[in-house]
Symmetry: C3
Subunit: 447 residues, 3 copies
């Protein structure tokens, strides 16, 4: 039977073997402290988690809308599966690596797999898990956009699980567990410009490079535009993401506190500024206010403000978001036309490049009177180069880790299961080839 | 004028007569106890109600996406109207039958119609009503999926109101009012695998049988696939439903308490496992990971965990949800190919069959250390057959009630107003025939 | 460079000059009192704000779905930009005019621009800002629907910013700041039937008149229907709006209190009644239950209940919403066929006319035992004509202010930057002309 279902079999075996290796040592006994579960804390954290979950719908719509109709089912399945697979993997493995007791000087956690320390006495931990798991899935989802329209579905399942189970949780441990080496160094990433977005962005970059461009993207060395098939869907996705991002950023307080209003406001202003500045930038370059770029500008502003949302003023948020809007347009053009890397939805620029920008912005714009607390002043507010330097170190360290592990992962897949569909399948569309169905049955569609 | 507008006239008269009969005796004076309305309780319940309301959008998108473009407006109108009509009917009649003072040994309630006991002094009751009304509408909505693409719109209006006003509230009384006969027997359905989903599922089954299959569905005794026209919309619907389901399940605490985190986690894990296992099952059967089945798998996991979400461990949730994913695929194929009942969106399998599975799973996997409380141990955790037996009795009782009343209802409609549109209208599409408009004006669509 | 980019240049210069004039005097020092920021208050207000933000997605989908495919990107960009531009403008200017210290006997506010009084000590103000900014954006968004498919994008940017920065905040000051002249007169608009919806509606009316009808809308003096291209998207938008409206109405308590349940219930019932009655009305007129009208009926019910949601009984809410559903159908037909004003999505009828109806309904149906407090009894509950009269004065005053300022604004734009695209561009579609891209690349679309 395995020989019949080669692809399926390989996928399943690989995942099972992997899970087994990691699930084995789950019965460690280190204790995790309980957190306060007052009504306000609990409700805030959980509703924020729901909002962040809903971002999966946003990513699915953005990625589907910005690519071609013939690959719609495939992209939707990836988005469904990176949460589904990611949730199980993060439960079994990821949580323990991210929030388990710190090992090797803050390099990774190793305890509390499957939240064994929580159980019936501390269900607040379960709410925390839900909030965290959607972050893990977000990191994985980002990758699917950059690798859209040509990646083998079975390979996708494997690498998305590994990102949620290992690659992402390690970075999370460094920065958010409390004992991680970057936390101890003074690195500051409030809601995950680096932890979530640049992790996704770097993995996306490595994936897009190893995978190569879509057929027809570069003809005689010139980049050709492959327009998305459903901009209303993509726009809906951006609005959903923005909506969910309020949970993403303001929920990263992990409890109710007085900063949630401040964070929500900086989030809204940065996204607005990002959309406006991206529109103006592309308007100046292309003489028309392109819709896709403007939508990506809003996302760029959101990614940019994710790290500094709690520690900068509203005016600084406008500047950070606005610059993110400029950066994302230039980055998309640079990656597309100069580097000639094919990233169908601009995921590397939005999440990777703007994730880096947001993380560095913490070192520039933070003021200690806001959420980050005493001593956190950025370069522009008298804090000197120290904070900025630490932020830069964190950015580089995460980039190295993700590029390395994602590189190994994608190359391994390339030379075993195979990373890319056949040329025939790519031309015909992955919906028919991988899933045996169409996204828009009955509609007349060219290409 | 009535003779001119026969269809409209019949519908209106029928509804008005019906309402009058029931609204008459509303001035009963039994008292309903007030509930605590602290901030946390109130906010939790109300936001959960909002989330569940949003599930209407999810159902609308799933049902529209999984059927043909020519019937899109019709399906959307049904979803709009089953909430709109259902809300008025549940306010006037349903609430009193469901939560009124228990009559006839717990068979139905009869007091507090239009929430007369609540009023200005106890607005918490109003929040409860909102939460409950969206459950009533959900039960009605489920039916519309199974009867899609061939049901007369005027008949739909009538039966959806009757489900929300009578059929569903009676079951709700049995299980959730506190004095219902199934509650007293020890039956346990935390968030409604039986109360909401299997009620919808059984009515859907009866409706699909009495209505008969769509033209072209069974040719020479063989089932032909009629693919849905917009999978991205259907996928969006599934994500919206999943998002809303956090409110559905975790809001069923009806107040803030420490189990909301636990419930949210089991909900997420079961849905994930359902999607994965449905994908694997159909992959093994059809050699391709079908998108529609995987999406239905997520819903199956959600329906399955709805009853046991508060009383089982996270690992049990994965098993329950995963099995629901397997069950839903087998059930869809069985109903389609063996029973030859035409259920366009798989509503009977998702809500009916998995609703039964979830209800029985309570009797298998419950542990008293979780939300259900002392003495609630399922078969697999030392509780013996008793709990399982009670669950099975409840499943059967509800099936009998719904199949019987829905059967009478649909047959009455069939032989009076008429249940099905004409052949010409069905072939041309219900959008033109019933509503005089198209869903996608300007698009070239075949079929 | 400015001469090259004439259009862009003009837009930017205009906005910058405008902002500069207003941002100058921001360093006023009047104090704004701090509000209580308990967990329940804070969480309620902020989550309501998130829900209202999500309404932007709803407006975008409704407006896109109800118009033609060739203008989809343009409409989406408008919706993206009216929030983005509106948020920055409302932060810099609007908030200070609306909630600043009252000047000139309650005509406008003038202090606390950029929320300088809030800062790190009072982040609750920031949460209030987020809630208010989405209202400002809503007022601007409404206009885009009535002026769809023919307005120059650069002009749109300018007028939408001015509505959010000046026209809307002045009305908000009159009614919601506490010292406004209409508040002192006893005018009552709980959640904004007048402040938000009729402001948008009147501006939409003036815009549609000055702009003139779309090419092909009136042929030889007869109105021709131009059907929307994507009813599923429009229906999704209505569900999203309804969902968000719970935040809009119940969040207008601005803090947690016991009326949030009451408000949510009246909101749900009025919307349901609106959808039903609009469906019945159009069914009687056109012999078919039109989908677009029914969807607009739900919105009409929501607009109608927005002012009275806290001060009327559930039964009154059904009546108010139901009449709104009748009114909206008659109004759409009257404006389209008799006045011959081209309002592609019915924005004037839904928001303007029903906004007026809702505001007047406060004077008819209010009961002092509900949220509005002592002495607030409408005409039907023994309150006499006084309250109704004050409501009517408020309606007229706001109509005069908005029609006048919007008129000046649109005429100024018409004779400077230009308000309308060229005939060629309109026929070809604004997506290509204004944005250089298509909404549905690859799909075969006629017209």
């Amino acid at each position: 039977m395995i020989s019949k279902l080669t692809k399926t079999g390989k996928v399943l075996l690989f995942v099972i073997v992997l899970l087994t290796i990691f699930v084995f040592p789950i019965f460690s006994e280190d204790e995790i402290p309980a957190e306060a579960n007052t009504g306000s804390n609990y409700i805030w954290l959980l509703l924020a988690a729901f909002l962040v979950f809903f971002m999966q719908a946003g990513f699915a719509m953005v990625e589907t809308g910005f690519t071609r109709a013939k690959n719609g089912v495939n992209i939707l399945m990836k988005n469904l599966m990176d949460f589904s697979g990611g949730a199980i993997a993060y439960f079994l493995i990821g949580w323990g690596i991210m929030y388990g007791v710190s090992k090797a000087g803050g390099l990774f956690g190793w305890s509390d797999f499957m939240l064994t320390s929580a159980g019936a006495e501390n269900t607040y931990q379960y709410a925390s898990w839900l909030f965290q798991v959607v972050f893990a899935a977000t990191a994985a989802t980002i990758v699917s956009g950059a690798m859209a329209e040509r990646t083998k579905f079975s390979s996708y399942l494997i690498y998305s699980v590994i990102i949620s189970a290992i690659i992402y949780p390690v970075v999370g441990h460094w920065i958010w567990q409390g004992e991680g080496w970057l936390t101890k160094l003074g690195f500051h990433d409030f809601a995950g410009s680096t932890v979530v977005h640049s992790v996704g962005g770097w993995a996306a970059l490595m994936g897009a490079i190893i995978l190569g461009p879509r057929i027809g993207k570069y003809v005689k060395g010139k980049a050709k535009a492959i327009p998305g098939h459903n901009i209303p869907l993509a726009a809906l996705g951006v609005f959903i993401l923005w909506f969910g991002w309020f949970g993403f950023n303001a929920g990263s307080t992990l409890e109710f506190n007085e900063w949630i209003g401040h964070i929500s406001m900086t989030t809204a202003l940065a996204a607005s500024a990002g959309a406006i500045m991206a529109m103006i930038t592309i308007w100046l370059i292309q003489k028309k206010p392109d819709g896709s770029m403007s939508l990506n500008g809003a996302l760029a502003g959101l990614v940019g403000i994710t790290a500094p949302c709690a520690s900068v003023s509203p005016l600084s948020a406008i500047i950070i978001g606005g610059l993110a809007g400029v950066i994302v347009v230039l980055s998309v053009i640079f990656i597309d036309k100069v580097l000639k890397i094919d990233d169908p939805v601009g995921a590397v620029s939005v999440h990777g490049v703007c994730g880096v920008w947001g993380t560095l912005a913490v070192g520039l714009f933070s003021q200690e009177k806001f959420g980050a607390g005493a001593g956190y002043n950025g370069l522009f507010f008298g804090g000197g180069f120290k904070m900025f330097g630490v932020q830069a170190i964190g950015v580089l360290a995460v980039a190295c880790w993700v590029l390395l592990t994602a590189g190994i992962l994608f190359l391994t897949l390339k030379f075993t299961v195979g990373l890319r569909v056949s040329k025939e399948e790519e031309v015909k569309g992955l919906d028919i080839g991988e899933h045996g169905m169409e996204a828009y049955s009955g509609f007349q569609i060219i290409d």
